[in-house]
Amino acid sequence: MVDPAVNAANPSGGEDPSRRDFIHIAAISAAAVGGAAVAWPFIAQMNPSADTMALASVEYDLTKIEPGMQVTINWRGKPLFIRYRTQAQIDAAVKDDGASLPDPQTDAERHKEGKAQWLVLVGSCTHLGCVPTVGGGDYQGWFCPCHGSHYDTSGRIRKGPAPTNLVVPEYAFLSDTKVKIG
């Protein structure tokens, strides 16, 4: 809009220079404020649009899952794992609560109270975002084929480059058989 050189190259007049400069500085500042204000809509438009936000939560009927099985559903464009754990798998996870973990968390912290069989996780490896395969790896939880991260049956990172446990999203049980994610 206004070249900053307005100030520098201003011809000197006989008047008080501070008052003379003030008007130019005010004009340039106003241009800067205006420019910044205009920039905001152009940045904000890249954020998720209203229709995307409207689909940000999904509901799922758990009666469709057999014990020991996992379903993968699409949530916010990413895979979401819902796993119906067997008692053996829960026991294996609880047993390791005291083990040395890269990202210490107990199994109880990773499921809703009284719903230990249901594990809901964002199916995206915390290393670089690949989708881990279920039941693989040294701990029979998940194994990420991209760079070899091993997760246990609680979705905690045990071995490999991933820094943190698989993320537990915000979710709630609407009833015993229905869960709402997001």
Binding site: M1, V2, A9, Q45, N47, S49, T52
Partner: protein, 428 residues
């Protein structure tokens, strides 16, 4: 005008850079130290305003392309998706659609300014022709952009305009088929128009660089038409021209914002909010306002091919103008007779614009039937268009060549500075 550079690199880095790629020197010489005639009035601020318009169109356009779907099934809904769901999408889309109109308002004022002050005359012929090229590219870009929302006016406007090219003998049908990519305007047409609509603004930006380059070689014209002779005739571009251009841009933005925020659809057409339907044509099909004068010229001629040729000829006259005007005096400030013809010319362009928006058989003076002259009532827009078209061409082909030879211009000042002191007409 291009004297030696006064650029002084201020620090070690700019000295290092100056020896390798002297961008700083280029900017300094072109936009800071560049001498501009000291008598430029507000009509000379539209160059800056037009750069602003191009910038706004390119930035908003790139953003819109992030959300738009160029398909016959998806285009209309994706534009509405932008209007409803995308954050500030309504703002960006209204800026883009109204920005096109603002761009044309500015370019028309810029062109009339050039016509009045003789800015096309030697040595500025190439500068003028580059400007005409930009104008042509703008028209192509605007036309293809208007097709993209895929509303009724988009679709049938595209049908009518592409069919114009079918008027040419032998090659006509080949050209239209090539443009359409099918037997009619359809999905392939939309997709190629989208691609070209994205490309052309960058071509325009390229020609703008040439336009500014040519301007800086020959120097700016000014209201006296007398080239600066000494330093007393000029002021440095910065701060003198920058602050004046800045003020003019800001005032122009007030007009722009009034349209965007308070009457965003006033310059558009209601039919374009109806999704395209190839089987139904809107009752009254008109192009966007900035094409109306040419549309009137097209319809003024009863023959299809001749009409198309007249329309293109109307633009062709602009290209030939530097050699059509025989006057030795550049600025019409000193050509009283030329002023009169110029005013009639501006009015003619306006009348053509109004006539282009009417049905040809509508009465100019309501409820008054006169008599049928050849093929239409004399009191009809088609006859008004014909008279105006005749004057439009006469202005370029008769008035400009002949008047320069016979008129008696007023005395032209020796230098720019001299009329500043004495001439009462200086604010003109």
């Amino acid at each position: 005008m291009s004297g030696h550079s006064t650029y002084q690199p201020k620090n070690a880095f700019s000295r290092w850079m100056d020896a390798r790629l002297p961008v700083g020197r280029l900017v300094w010489d072109s936009f800071v130290d560049y001498p501009t005639p000291r008598n430029l009035n507000y009509w000379y601020t539209f160059g800056g305003i037009l750069s602003l318009c191009l910038g706004v169109q390119i930035i908003t356009g790139i953003v819109l392309a992030m959300h738009y779907t160029p398909s016959a099934a998806g285009a209309f809904n994706s534009v509405e998706h932008i209007m409803r769901n995308v954050n500030y999408g309504w703002l960006i889309r209204y800026m883009h659609s109204n920005g096109a109109s603002m761009f044309f308002i500015a370019v028309y004022l810029h062109m009339f300014r050039g016509l009045y002050y003789g800015s096309y005359k030697a040595p500025r012929e190439v500068l003028w022709i580059l400007g005409c090229v930009i104008y042509l590219l703008m028209m192509a870009t605007a036309f293809m952009g208007y097709v993209l929302p895929w509303g009724q006016m988009s679709f049938h406007g595209a049908v009518v305009i592409t069919n114009l090219l079918g008027a040419f003998p032998i090659v006509g049908e080949t050209i239209t088929t090539l443009l359409w990519g099918g037997f009619a305007v359809d999905e392939p047409t939309l997709k190629r128009f989208f691609s070209l609509h994205y490309l052309l603004p960058f071509v325009i930006a390229g020609v703008v660089i040439l336009h500014v380059w040519a301007l800086h070689v020959v120097g700016q014209n000014n209201p006296t038409g007398v080239d600066p002779k000494s330093k007393a005739d000029t002021v440095p571009f910065t701060p003198y021209a920058t602050v004046k251009d800045g003020f003019a841009m800001s005032v122009f933005l007030i007009l722009f914002a009034t349209f965007v925020f308070y009457m965003p659809n006033a310059l558009g057409h209601a039919d374009n909010y109806i999704p395209a339907d190839p089987l139904v044509t809107p009752a009254h099909i008109v192009p966007e306002w900035y094409f109306l004068p040419f549309y009137a010229i097209l319809r003024a001629v009863p023959d299809k091919l001749m009409g198309v040729l007249a329309m293109f000829g109307a633009i062709g006259c602009l290209f030939a103008l530097p050699w059509l005007d025989t006057s030795k005096v550049k600025s019409m400030r000193y050509r009283p007779q030329a002023q009169l013809y110029f005013v009639i010319f501006v009015a003619t362009c306006w009348i053509l614009g109004v006539a282009g928006g009417k049905l040809p058989d509508d009465h100019v003076i309501p409820h008054l039937s006169t008599f049928t002259f050849i093929d239409a009532d004399l009191n009809s827009y088609v006859w008004l268009s014909r008279v105006a078209t005749l004057y439009y061409f006469a202005y370029f082909l008769v008035v400009m060549p002949v008047l320069g030879l016979i008129e008696k211009p007023r005395p032209v000042p020796e230098t720019i500075s001299s009329p500043v002191l004495g001439d009462s007409d200086k604010k003109d």
